[in-house]
């Protein structure tokens, strides 16, 4: 389940487990679900409410909590989801903080 939506039992047991990434999705399953309608991958960008995100609904039925990994961004607990894109469970915003180049540049 997406960590913010897990049923109480699941949430209580979070302390006991290692948080995994949410289920794989997108071209070649090379991305990960960020929410029930959001799929992003480093190499391909983000899909919202498209056919690529359909499998992200399955995460709601898994008992163990999941959370995207990656650099924190935005003001609502977002994570960098792809080059230049910051996503939460419900939104994606263009964000230079997530620009791949900014990781290497000295600006």
């Amino acid at each position: 389940c997406y960590i913010n939506n897990c049923p109480v039992g699941g949430k209580r047991s979070i302390m006991d487990m290692e948080i995994r990434q949410c289920i794989p999705c997108g071209p070649g399953n090379r991305g990960h679900c960020f929410g029930a309608s959001i799929c992003c991958g480093e190499g391909f960008g983000c899909y919202i409410g498209t056919s690529e995100t359909l499998r992200c609904q399955k995460e709601d039925y898994l008992l163990s909590p999941c959370e995207p990994s990656g650099r924190a961004c935005g003001s609502n607990g977002g994570k960098c989801a792809s080059s230049g894109i910051c996503c939460t469970q419900e939104s994606c915003v263009l964000d230079p903080i997530c620009d791949t180049r900014s990781v290497f540049s000295s600006d």
Copy 2:
């Protein structure tokens, strides 16, 4: 050009023209660009920073201003971009206001 980014000359002349939708994009070109990296369509959801959005960069080179049509949503001048999705030039957020069903339901 995207209406918020048009060069001054373009912006000044807005009053004189009918604002068009931004250039078509996505599967079968059935969607429209919302920003240089965002493509959405009623039937297919939204793409952010994917291969489907590459052609949306071309809009920056057109002189006449464009603006997505549709129902207003969100707090930043967004428009409903697909079923349940509200987008601006730089972001897309899941938003029940844009739910197709809510147009017809009596809730």
